[in-house]
Each structure stands twice: as structure tokens, then as C-alpha cells.
């Protein structure tokens, strides 16, 4: 029997950027396909996101970063999740990650998916759902 019937996803914005329009649109789109989205809002520390993900027992953590700090924040998040024994939770990254090499490197260090900003939202949603399964 499948343990989980309802997919739970945490969406949050780590660090100092204040652009939350994209992540709110994604939250709506996930909600519309039956996902329970825990939205933690702006200016989250990596520790806040990691501990929240454990408490909320989410399947996927989506972080949106437009500040350029993704090469610092994402590895930090992956490290903290591992330290909490939550390394099985999938981390996806969106926002503005312009450098293809950066995207490849983040996926190499353990991000499940890094979205380019021109990926259609339907594809983002279906990728997140398939990661939760």
C-alpha cells in the first residue's frame, strides 16, 4: 500500500530577496492539482526551511531564489536536511538561476531538479508531483 495519498510540498524563499510572485503562482498551481502546500513566505533561513520540512513531513521542498545566492543556499539546505535525517526529501530550485553550469552543479550535489525560468508551470507542477511519488 502506498504510504501517502496526499502530496505535501513546502514552498519558501530563503535569504534576502523579496520577490514572491512566482512562488505564489506555483503554490496556486500545485493547490489546483490537489497538493497541500505549506507556504513559509519570505526571508527564511535555511535552518527554518529544513526544520519546517521535517515538522510538516513534506515530500518535496521548493525554494525560489532570485538573489543569486543559490550556490550557497542550496548546498546548505541539502546539508542541513541530511543532518536532520531528512535527506530523502526532494529539493527543487526555481527563481532565477541563469547559469546552465550552476544548474548542473546544484543537481550534481543533490538538488532533485533546478528549473530554468522558461519552464512552463505545468511542467514544474508535474515534475514536483512525480518527485513526490
Amino acid at each position: 500500500m502506498k504510504r501517502r495519498r496526499v502530496v505535501r510540498v513546502l514552498l519558501g524563499k530563503p535569504g534576502l530577496d523579496g520577490h514572491d510572485r512566482g512562488i505564489k503562482i506555483l503554490a496556486q498551481a500545485l493547490k489546483d492539482v490537489g497538493v497541500e502546500v505549506i507556504y513559509t513566505g519570505l526571508h527564511q533561513s535555511v535552518a527554518q526551511i529544513a526544520l519546517t520540512a521535517v515538522q510538516e513531513d513534506v515530500d518535496v521542498i521548493g525554494v525560489s531564489i532570485l538573489s543569486g545566492a543559490h550556490m550557497t543556499l542550496v548546498p546548505e539546505l541539502l546539508g542541513q536536511l541530511n543532518a536532520l535525517g531528512a535527506g530523502d526529501k526532494k529539493v527543487v530550485v526555481g527563481g532565477f538561476i541563469p547559469d546552465r553550469d550552476d544548474r548542473a552543479q546544484l543537481e550534481a550535489v543533490g538538488a532533485a531538479k533546478v528549473f530554468d525560468q522558461d519552464v512552463p508551470i505545468t511542467e514544474t507542477v508535474s515534475t514536483i508531483i512525480s518527485l513526490a511519488d
Binding site: 501517502r4 496526499v6 493547490k31 492539482v33 497541500e36 507556504y39
Partner: protein, 329 residues
């Protein structure tokens, strides 16, 4: 383990199960909560084992209209309880979409400063179509937090309806949050939400009309016949965004808590447990009845009569029960 293990609700001789969740395994607690929320049968067996560890926490319900500041108030209360050494669990319920069943759970947005505090555990739940302001799983999730040793558990209801009163089945103390500008004194004398308050919290006390809300509530309470054994609810003005009035509110909660620790309080707690039992019984009986009835020859006959309007729905149900009970005996 919690320091109030000798709480009034605990019979002396009870074998305490040793379990990872009681020893502080946060991940195990969080996963059990998901399984209970998803109605995984194995989770029920686990909770059965843990149930003797429950009944120690003080459960506080927070209800009130959308935008009345419930989450901000909960955030402040968590801070106040933590400051004096309580460990706190928060259950925050938001509505599920009637289309597709998804949800955006945003209550904890206002509580995120506590997310790195080891003494605080916040869990967001979607109502999943359950009415009355809670999710079906709320009681179970409270139990798990109780097992975790949280000394105070705060439950924030969805906050949409005037009859969102299920919280009284689970909370020792119910806070009903009111704000200025939502209605006149007739709103205050209507039935429902207002009758379940242990304490009225008038939030946004800096706004015009806050004193009028207090007066309306006072006038409503002065003319209301209280049920025997029930203390008159207190009224506390707060401005949650600035933390004003929170100390007074915590005092009022403490007062209510000590008032309800007598034999009346014990009776209330026992009644609440029995109510939960009857709810479970009702659901289980209904599921079993449907299982036996659906697709049977009698069902075909009774439903055909109903469709032809030869029999009304209530009589059809009675006829169905006679059939189901007949099969059982």
C-alpha cells in the same frame, strides 16, 4: 519527558509504552501525523499503543473570523509560553479547496520565528472536506503532540463559520477572537461560536470600535443565562501584532485552566473523550452499514421506492436499518 506527568487526568497505575516519539524523535512524530491524516491503518495501531501517554497537555483552541489575527495571536502566545518554560505544539488548520482538494497552508507564515526553537512543533493541516473548523485528524494530531511531551498545545481553527464549534470537543480553553468592524451587537447575541468561548480576545485593540466590541460582549454576557458550572468568559483586549495584552491573556488562560482543574473540569474532559468515542462509533457504524447495504436486493428495492417517491428518505433509512440489523442478528 514532560514535567507535568502527574497531571490530574492520569490514573496512577498505567503502563507507559516506550516509544521513539515519546523520546523526542521529531521525524517519527511528523510521519505518524501524516499517516493519521492519510488514514493509514497501521498508524491507528501505533496511536492505540501511544494513547496511555496522552491527557497531560493543556489544549487551547483559537477560533475567529478570517483576518481576525488568529495566527499572529498564536505566534505571540507561543512566545509567551516558551518564555516561561512550556514546550508548545501548534496545530494550524486551513481549508482544502472544494475543487481538487489541494490547499495552501499559510498559518505558520506568521509563526516562522519559532521554527528553529526545539521546544516548538508546528503542524499545518488541511481541513480535507471536514466541517466544523477542524480536520478529521485533529484529535489524533493533538494526541501525538501530547505524547511528544508538549505541555501546551494550541489549535488554530480554519476560521470561517459561525458554527465552527468542534474545537470545544478538544480544547480545555477556547479563545474566540473578535475584531472591530465585523458586525453590530446582534452578531454578539447570535448562537454558535460565541457560546463556546472560555475567553473572548478582542484583537486589533488600536482600531476604532474595539471598546464597542468589548461593551457588546459585556452586555451579551450580562444578559445571558450561563450553564451551571460554567464560569463567565473573560474578555481580554490585545494588539497581537505588537504583543500588547498578551501577558494579560496568558494570565486569563492560566486562571481558566486552574478553574477547570476541579471535578467539573475532570467531568468535562471525560465527556469530551466520550464524545470522541461516539463520533468514532458513528463513523464506523455508518461505514459498516453502507458496506452491508449497498448492492443488496433490499437496497435495490428501497432505493427504487425512494426514486419513485413512494417512500421518503427518512422512512427509507428506517427500512434500511431494519434490513441491516436483521442481517446482523
Amino acid at each position: 519527558m514532560a514535567d507535568n506527568a502527574q497531571g490530574p487526568d492520569r490514573p496512577v497505575e498505567r503502563v507507559m509504552p516506550d516509544h521513539a516519539i515519546a523520546r523526542g524523535d521529531i521525524g517519527a512524530a511528523a510521519r505518524l501525523m501524516s499517516d493519521l491524516d492519510d488514514e493509514v491503518p497501521a498508524a491507528r495501531a501505533q496511536l492505540r499503543q501511544l494513547f496511555p501517554l496522552t491527557g497531560r497537555a493543556h489544549v487551547i483552541g483559537v477560533t475567529g473570523a478570517p483576518g481576525s489575527g488568529k495566527s499572529t495571536l498564536v505566534d505571540q502566545l507561543v512566545g509567551a509560553f516558551r518564555q516561561r518554560g512550556d514546550t508548545v505544539g501548534v496545530v494550524a488548520i486551513d481549508p482544502s479547496s472544494p475543487f481538487g482538494g489541494g490547499a495552501i497552508l499559510g498559518d505558520r507564515l506568521r509563526m516562522q520565528r519559532h521554527s528553529v526553537d526545539e521546544g516548538v512543533f508546528v503542524r499545518s493541516l488541511a481541513s480535507r472536506g471536514y466541517l466544523g473548523g477542524l480536520s478529521r485528524s485533529t484529535g489524533d494530531i493533538i494526541d501525538v503532540m501530547d505524547v511528544m511531551g508538549k505541555t501546551v498545545i494550541i489549535v488554530e481553527t480554519v476560521g470561517v463559520g459561525q458554527d465552527e464549534i468542534d474545537i470545544m470537543r478538544f480544547a480545555d480553553t477556547v479563545l474566540v477572537v473578535q475584531v472591530p468592524g465585523l458586525g453590530d451587537d446582534v452578531q454578539a447575541i447570535k448562537a454558535g461560536l460565541l457560546e463556546i468561548a472560555s475567553i473572548f480576545v478582542v484583537n486589533k485593540s488600536d482600531l476604532d470600535g474595539a471598546d464597542q466590541v468589548v461593551r457588546d460582549l459585556e452586555s451579551m454576557l450580562s444578559t445571558k443565562t450561563l450553564r451551571p458550572g460554567i464560569a463567565t468568559p473573560g474578555i481580554v483586549k490585545v494588539q497581537a501584532t505588537r504583543g500588547r495584552g498578551i501577558a494579560e491573556l496568558v494570565e486569563a488562560v492560566d486562571r481558566h485552566r486552574s478553574d477547570s482543574h476541579g471535578s467539573d473540569g475532570m467531568q468535562t474532559r471525560h465527556r469530551r473523550l466520550e464524545h470522541r468515542f461516539y463520533e468514532c462509533l458513528r463513523e464506523a457504524l455508518f461505514a459498516e452499514a453502507c458496506r452491508r447495504f449497498k448492492g443488496s436486493a433490499a437496497a435495490e428495492r428501497i432505493l427504487a421506492e425512494l426514486r419513485d417517491r413512494r417512500i421518503d428518505p427518512s422512512s427509507a433509512a428506517t427500512a434500511a436499518i431494519e434490513q441491516i440489523v436483521g442481517w446482523a442478528s
